[in-house]
Amino acid sequence: MRYVWRRLGHALLVLFGVSVLSFLFAELAPGNFLDELRLDPRVSAATIEALRDRYGLDQPFPQKYFRWLQSISRGELGFSVAYNGPVGPLLWRRARNTLFLTVTATVLAWLVAIPLGVWGASRKGKWADRMGAGATTALLSVPDVLLGLGLLLLAVRTGYFPTGGMVSLSFAELGLWDKVKDVASHFFIPVTALILANLPVLVRHVRASLIEVLQAPFIQAARASGIPERRLLFRYALRAAANPLISLLGLSIAALLSASLVVETIMSWPGLGPLLLEAVAARDLHLVVGVVMCSTILLVAGSLLADTLLYWVDPRIRQQG
């Protein structure tokens, strides 16, 4: 268990570091978020002073940062000018939507990638494998932006799928089953885009690590003792190849979140991506820091999950820990 605790401590340190880093970026930016607010005639000077005081904008950097930490303890994470309210409540909804999208995409992408990778590895060098390798390289070369736009075009042209958002306008009036169907139909296009964006990297890694394992002596021994090929591949080889793949699961989340930002924005999925773009365009510093922190938390949680999984799967790590 000490291993997991150590990982957790490390994750917290990283989060702390990232928040300091993003505050430093904010510090470098000219002006502060109250400048915009000051232009608004509806906001009185007293309100601005109160906000200025609350977030310690006149104070040196460490104090400013400390104020922000305090506002975290209140669950606010600072103040958003664009939305005229605390950042925290804004984030949770959006983070939930992003999480919903990326977790589903990750699970589905792995479910597709593992059989494809195993299949490629078991036919290494044959024409089917070469075709597969060519297809993954080609797919790898399609930029996320184009993938998103292409699928959106498909949705517009065929009319089978809604072209944006997460729910239909009439969502509130629908029954439970229709609600599920409605979200699922909005969900289909962005999730497909994310799976396609993620798939080539996963298939390549599954194939490569499985090929490495298939060369090991124990596989030959297993094959010689007459274990059926399918069982050999999925039971024995895949388990031995699991380690690098679990590490990849942690790493692939970073790429997935980036792809998700693009896809969410193109499909107007109400996740963290569009929120971040709005925040950058409005120079809403605390909101930007909040979204960046949120994405870091998702990323760190993902790699923590991968580490824990590794701990659970691999007895060697358990003994070290």
Partner: protein, 361 residues
Amino acid sequence: MIRAQTSVRSDNARSSFKGALTHGYRPALCLLGLVYASTLLAGFLAPYGPLTQNRDLSFAAPTRLHFLDPTGRLHLRPFVYGLTIRSGTFDEYEEDRSRIYFVRFFVPGAPYRIAGLFSGDHHLFGTDSPARLFLFGSDQFGRDLFSRLLYGGQISLFAGLLGAGLSLGVGLVLGGLAGFYGSWVDEAIMRVAELFLALPWLYLLLAVRMALPLQIEPGQAFLLILAVLGLIGWARPARLIRGVVLSARLRDHVLAARGFGASDLYLLRRHVMPQVLGIALTQAALLVPQYILAEVTLSFFGLGVGEPVPSWGNMLASLQRYNVLASYWWMFLPGIALIPVFLLYHLLADALHQRLAAYSL
């Protein structure tokens, strides 16, 4: 005696580097060179200037080349027709078959400069006014997409190349320092690198972008994007290079050279850098497409190089409107053009990687 031996060793390292350049990825490298050269020669290759507008030819489809004229006569030289708006519509065009316009080569047209050095006004191909030759169609303002694609490559492709060079340079220096000096230098640099790696790159990119002014001149925007890319991307190469330097530093021949009184600088230049170069090049081939994508994404979101200067990203931006997305397929071409470029870089990286694995000492 020792001196001779150490130089043999590093000759090996160097020949592996040279070998890496002449094998396997020559085709990919040549083709990439061709792509980059053609964007540099945009002035000559493009029939029109990047900003030349034809307001009456908004969203015209790629111009059709003809060989058979209305009388049924075959022309060996391709020709085009002028376009007029179909009566009763406002965005559909039909060919005006009353007059044919031949496609001609080395036609005089808008003046241009190539790489800021040579100026000229002859274009590789074109046709007579008032007909227009839009190979890839035209955009909202009737600007020739083919010409804009070539000019846009100057921004998108070179932003990737220079940005990757910049962050590789920073990574080389910081990773080299960390690996070579170890102890607290190593510790400090690697901890900071970890923070940069802990962020999804697009989120990091936007966070850094926020710290910079929103409305900027296109020329400045280009430099700014370079700076942002250099700043966000140094961590991964730095970490890889640190590892290589660390292991190179502890090799017997390097330790021997140090024992004979070689200076740090000599060791770095003579023994460490040759080993690092291979991995640095492989990293570069992986980084460039990612950085091209970064510029495209930023400009697509309106946070990078802005109109009217073309970049592949801001050319795609009009697809965010549904009517453009659904009706004008040629507006996808700047995105489709990225695919072969990325493919070539991936092939290059794969080939470099294989050479590196084969030659690794």
